[in-house]
């Protein structure tokens, strides 16, 4: 499988009144064709900013991609002009967001919003675009498509709106779909529907999905490959089964252990102590060291690099550096 998205040493910074936040700090990973890659992380881990950097939608002037490469289908996105990037956005790379309720324009009809990318990228005329829009509404499993096309977003439920968002996203047949917490705002029963649908579209069109989530359950259900982020850095990545069965990084281990699982009750949950470090006060170190049970002296002073530890699994942790050095 060839890679469709190749991110190398991506760095995205935000300037605030109190200093610069390195929201995405030297992040590299790949998304291969037809694959679902999940980025997992807590709030502030930089997972959404990574996605926005790919889309070229980092909010300036405070935020800016300051370095690295983003290659999409062989093309370097960071070198494209704004207009060239725009023709890729919504066309070859599409995106859906966390809050379906606020992600659609409240004063435009559903149909109009669905037609826009078709007119913009597929150069359809209004009539053809509307016809296609109605087909798309049907494809995402909503009946009464004609009627829905003429309604406004507030008249639909969150689950329906997320389906519409998916319809907009797949309308131009993208090679890559970025889904940023697409089910976080939805109920579990609706979440199951949406995840099923994403999987279905992926199978049908062989597109790749970059799924961003904090929910390990969703990761286990969807992902082929997992990237774990913490404080702007990738701390671990690997094939989903390997990573869940044999997590290497203490953070990944803690995350997996601290999640209560249905029908697997424990007396006390494992919990990672402390909290995410203040992004303005990061010094060269493993950013997890304050919360880590295996913290060593080197962790407090030097940043570990992401290294392969076999079976396509990579981890950024001094524990394994030493292990490999000793072998």
């Amino acid at each position: 499988m060839n890679s469709i998205l190749d991110i190398e040493h991506l760095r995205t910074h935000f300037k605030t009144d109190d200093g610069t936040v390195r929201a995405v700090d030297d992040v590299s990973f790949q998304v291969r064709q037809g694959e679902i890659v999940c980025i997992v992380g807590e709030s502030g881990s930089g997972k959404s900013i990574t996605a926005m950097s790919v889309m070229g939608l980092v909010e300036g002037p405070a935020g800016r991609v300051v370095g690295g490469n983003i290659r999409f289908d062989g093309e370097e996105l960071l070198k494209l002009s704004r207009n060239e990037l725009r023709t890729i956005r919504g066309n070859e790379i599409a995106m859906i967001f966390q809050e379906p309720m606020t992600s659609l324009n409240p004063v435009l009809k559903i149909g109009e919003q669905l037609m826009e990318p078709l007119i913009e990228h597929r150069k359809l005329n209004k009539k053809a675009a509307r016809k296609r829009a109605i087909e798309l509404i049907n494809e995402v499993g909503i009946s009464r498509a004609e009627q829905i096309a003429d309604s406004y977003p507030h008249e639909l439920s969150g689950g329906m709106l997320q389906r519409i968002m998916i319809a907009i996203a797949i309308s131009c047949g993208p090679k890559l779909l970025i889904a940023d917490e697409p089910t976080t705002a939805l109920d579990v029963t609706i979440q199951a529907q949406i995840l099923d649908m994403l999987r279905k579209f992926k199978e049908e069109s062989n597109m790749s999905i970059l799924l961003i989530t904090h929910d390990l359950g969703v990761v286990a259900e969807m992902a082929d490959y997992v990237v774990v982020m913490y404080a702007g850095k990738v701390v671990e990545e690997g094939e989903v089964v390997a990573l869940f069965e044999n997590p290497k990084h203490p953070y990944t281990q803690g995350l997996l252990k601290s999640k209560p699982i249905i029908n697997q009750r424990q007396e006390e949950l494992y919990s990672i102590p402390g909290q995410v470090p203040n992004p303005l006060e990061l010094v060269p170190s493993c950013y997890f060291h304050e919360r880590c049970a295996h913290c060593m002296e080197i962790c407090k002073t030097t940043q570990p690099a992401l290294k392969e530890v076999g079976n396509q699994q990579k981890v950024a942790c001094w524990l394994y550096e030493e292990a490999t050095a000793n072998v």
Partner: protein, 324 residues
């Protein structure tokens, strides 16, 4: 012994309708039945979990119990006292015994009040401890909730989400309540922080013998904490059972679907999944008969016409389904 069996909280046929008003004289033309005839009781030391999706009315149940909104009908008994019979003054005096923990740790703390004052002010207002001792009591409860003594003079915006939730818990605990209603207390928190707070809830129950009404949409959290569980859908209770029974053998189709829809962090685990079709019906215009019939994979004609009774099945479990 008989005292132990006496429930701490009894909710009988509780109803809360939000009127839909219209017309020149604001006549009520319909109702959103947010809570529609709910009954359950909680024994001292027990944790009762109320589960449901958005719009199920679970939060309204909590608020109606605490008289944060008025009930439409039914009764709420706390230690045998009907809360709706109390005068505002009597209710105020009883309040320290029933506390609420909010979902959003950001908006439930006044941004202009120091943490120490936020925790201690109710002690003062109820005259629970002499003024001189308030600070000591606050320090004590801060320590118990995993916060430090120097936090006492800080303002809420100086804390992270998890810490604020600890403050919210400390604010409730300092009053030595008997009952704590926790309304989605961990859903706004990150996974690694969630576990910390869940453990704190557990620890507090063990050391202080608290009784919880734990409202949540997250079945895995509820399973972890609660001994009794009620499942709500569109304002009605669909099933109530002990934790072990409910998770081992869910009876109501909705409970089954809910359980099977929760993603489990074990990749390639093949489970039998019931994916519900359709959306939540409009609560202002709920389906006839069984409210769940529009999405139920097993629905029969009878479900459309007849409202199923919430009836006992087995020793201590009830379910509202014609097919059980």
């Amino acid at each position: 012994m008989s005292e132990i069996l006496q429930p701490l909280l009894e909710v009988n046929h509780l109803k809360k309708y939000f009127p839909i008003k219209s017309g020149l004289l604001s006549r009520t033309v319909g109702n959103v039945k947010a809570v529609d005839d709910i009954s359950f009781s909680i024994k001292p030391g027990e944790t009762f979990g109320l589960v449901g999706e958005s719009g199920s009315g679970k939060s309204t149940v909590g608020r109606t119990i605490l008289r944060l909104t008025d009930k439409t009908d039914g009764e709420v008994k706390f230690k045998g006292i009907d809360l709706y019979d109390l005068s505002p003054q009597e209710l105020r005096r009883l309040r320290p015994k029933m506390q609420l923990i909010f979902q959003d740790p950001y908006s439930s703390l006044n941004p202009r009040v120091r943490i120490g004052d936020a925790i201690g002010e109710a002690l003062l207002d109820h005259g629970l401890v002499p003024q001189a001792e308030v600070r000591d009591r606050v320090l004590e409860v801060l320590a118990a909730c995993g916060l430090s003594s120097y936090h006492i003079d800080r303002f809420p915006h100086e804390f992270s989400g998890g810490q604020r939730q600890r403050v919210g818990i400390a604010r409730a605990l300092v009053l030595n309540p008997d009952l704590i209603i926790a309304d989605e207390p961990v859903s706004a928190l990150d996974v690694s922080i969630q576990a910390q707070i869940i453990n704190l809830f557990r620890k507090m129950q063990e050391t202080r013998g608290l009784t919880y009404l734990f409202i949540s949409h997250d079945l895995s959290v509820v399973e972890h904490l609660c001994s009794q569980i009620g499942v709500m859908y569109l304002g009605s209770m669909m099933e109530r059972a002990s934790r072990d029974e409910l998770f081992r053998d869910p009876l109501h189709p909705y409970t089954k679907a809910l359980l099977s829809a929760v993603p489990v962090p074990i990749p390639k685990l093949k489970r039998e999944r019931i994916v519900l079709s359709g959306e939540l019906p409009n609560p202002a215009d709920p389906p006839s008969g069984c409210k769940f019939h529009t999405r139920c994979p097993y629905a029969v004609a009878r479900c459309r016409e007849e409202v199923p009774l919430f009836r006992n099945v087995g020793s201590d479990r009830s379910v509202a389904c014609h097919l059980v």
